[in-house]
Amino acid sequence: MAEKKSLGKEFSKGIIIENPVLRLVLGTCPTLATTTSVTSAIGMGISASIVLICSNIAISALRKVIPAKVRIPAYIVVIASFVTIVQMLVKAFVPVLNEQLGVYLPLIVVNCIILGRAEAFASKNGVLASAVDGLGMGIGFTAALFVMGTIREILGAGTFLAGFGGLIGNNFDGFSIPFLNSNPILIFILAPGGFFVFGLVMALANKLAESKGKPKAELKGCENCPMAKICNVRDKVEGCDKKEVEA
């Protein structure tokens, strides 16, 4: 197995080059919804990362047992179990976060980053590589949320890390930004501002990835597509290599 050689690469690719939010454009809904404050962004990032790592490990370990035809329901069951565990833990130990995230916490079940990594990576790679991939993707997701949350909270509410004490169990209530605190630019914590910031941060991530020699994230035909085996689009599209499908 060539796993050991690429472990470092599997880890680092999730942070910028294949950042799930900014480069693969997955998990957009929780991203826009929870980045209104840094505290809820960090909470969301960490919860989703834990579920991602655990589900990657479990699915990778079970990859030879799960029949291909029912793999999606099987993945969902695995992911849902971990989400339930995380949700119970959050409710018990950080009830503030549970209130802040609201419906988005149980919705991690259908977070497409987690299902995407299960389908595209964990179902094809070993347990260790999948765990490292999950960790890298989780950190990338949390970092993207943190950057967006910082911009949106500072400009839109004039605070930074407000209510963070609730996460770590003390009274720390973040910092207040002098001028913006009394003149918040409200649009940044509303949905349109979220999209503005999303687009700008995405452009920045593309620029960073390009400077590392990787062009824009693009789908390289059918080979990257997890659905290639059961998809029959190739037969209809011209120029698609039919031999690959049969093989």
Partner: protein, 333 residues
């Protein structure tokens, strides 16, 4: 020799217009001057400061963004000046200057330059600037100052706050008082409101100039105002006073004459223009009658701007001589 000069063989186009972007934009600026003068008369020197800050920020933002993006400079075509003027016309006189600059930067950088500069913006930049400011600072954006209060007020910035006549006429149905402004005052712009929207006469004067110079066609303004008039006549059960306040109040005239007619964001065909303007009118009336906001011109123009590509597609003229049977094939191509 003279004959040779006349017989130039070259690829099309052969007939060229002497109009330039700069010339058209200058015409629009000239058409905006009456409203500019009216705004300074009614709202004082602060109106002029806001207009200068807005225009200045727009031009600087355009210059810097073109510089950073390493693209040829376009400040010479004056389109940024118009965006700046229109944005300032959409703001109340009491707004802080940094907010004006913020709106100008959003308008030019986010809406115009991110999408490729002049001719590429998918919605009207000035209106997005206004909407961003309205969503960000709802209180500052709806603080109206009574006209000429800058003359007798000690604190010039505060002025005397006053309800906008459009809000009053809508409150009338719920048992409010009639607007303090008479219709004559509404016509000359003696009312509370955004800088450039109050003086209907100045705006119509500018509109007539633009139509006479063939810069805009009268289709969109007339259809837009006409649609609003018909709907408001029905909504007001034939009450002409209500109708007049609706037409002269808010930013309808400014929007219909200067914003909805923007080349980039309005349809080209006659049919398309009619659909576009009727849509603007219906949306404006619906927002005014049933919405929470007293004013809906900016939102309705933006929504119709976004629909323009679809309208263009639906009203694309059939190439001359295309038989009916091949129509579908031609569309498919």
């Amino acid at each position: 020799m003279t004959l040779n000069n006349k017989l130039v063989v070259s690829a099309s186009p052969h007939a060229r217009s002497h109009e330039t972007v700069r010339g058209i934009m200058l015409d629009v600026i000239i058409a905006l001057v009456p409203a500019l003068i009216a705004s300074v008369i009614f709202f004082g020197p602060r109106a002029l400061i806001i207009e200068c800050v807005s225009v200045g920020s727009c031009v600087i933002a355009e210059y810097l963004s073109r510089l950073i993006m390493k693209r040829p400079h376009t400040i010479g075509d004056f389109s940024a000046v118009i965006t700046g003027l229109l944005l300032a016309f959409n703001l109340p006189v009491s707004i802080e200057l940094w907010k004006v600059a913020l709106g100008a930067i959003v308008a030019i950088v986010v809406v115009k330059q991110f999408f490729g500069g002049i001719g590429q913006n998918f919605v009207n930049p000035a209106l997005i600037g206004r909407i961003v400011l309205l969503a960000s600072f709802p209180t500052a954006m709806s603080k109206w100052t009574a006209p000429l209060s800058w003359l007798n007020s000690v604190s010039k910035l505060e002025g005397i706050t006053s309800a906008s006549p459009l809000a009053s006429i809508h409150a009338l149905a719920k048992g409010g008082a009639m607007p303090v402004e008479t219709l004559k005052e509404m016509l000359i712009g003696w009312r509370a409101g955004c800088l450039g929207e109050t003086c209907a006469i100045a705006l119509i004067l500018g509109g007539i100039y633009l139509i006479a110079r063939k810069v805009i066609s009268p289709t969109i303004p007339l259809t837009y105002v006409g649609t609003v008039a018909v709907i408001m006549l029905i909504a007001g059960k034939g009450n002409l006073t209500f109708l007049a306040y609706e037409l002269l109040g808010g930013g309808l005239m400014l929007g219909a004459i200067f914003m909805a007619t923007d080349y980039t964001t309005s349809p080209i065909t006659f049919k398309g223009k009619i659909i576009f303007a009727v849509g603007c009118g219906v949306l404006t009336s619906l927002i005014r009658l049933f919405g929470n906001l007293p004013e809906g011109v900016s939102y309705s123009i933006i929504i119709m701007n976004i629909l323009v590509p679809l309208i263009e597609k639906a009203t694309m003229p059939k190439p001359f001589g295309t038989p009916k049977k091949e129509k579908k094939e031609a569309e498919a191509k």
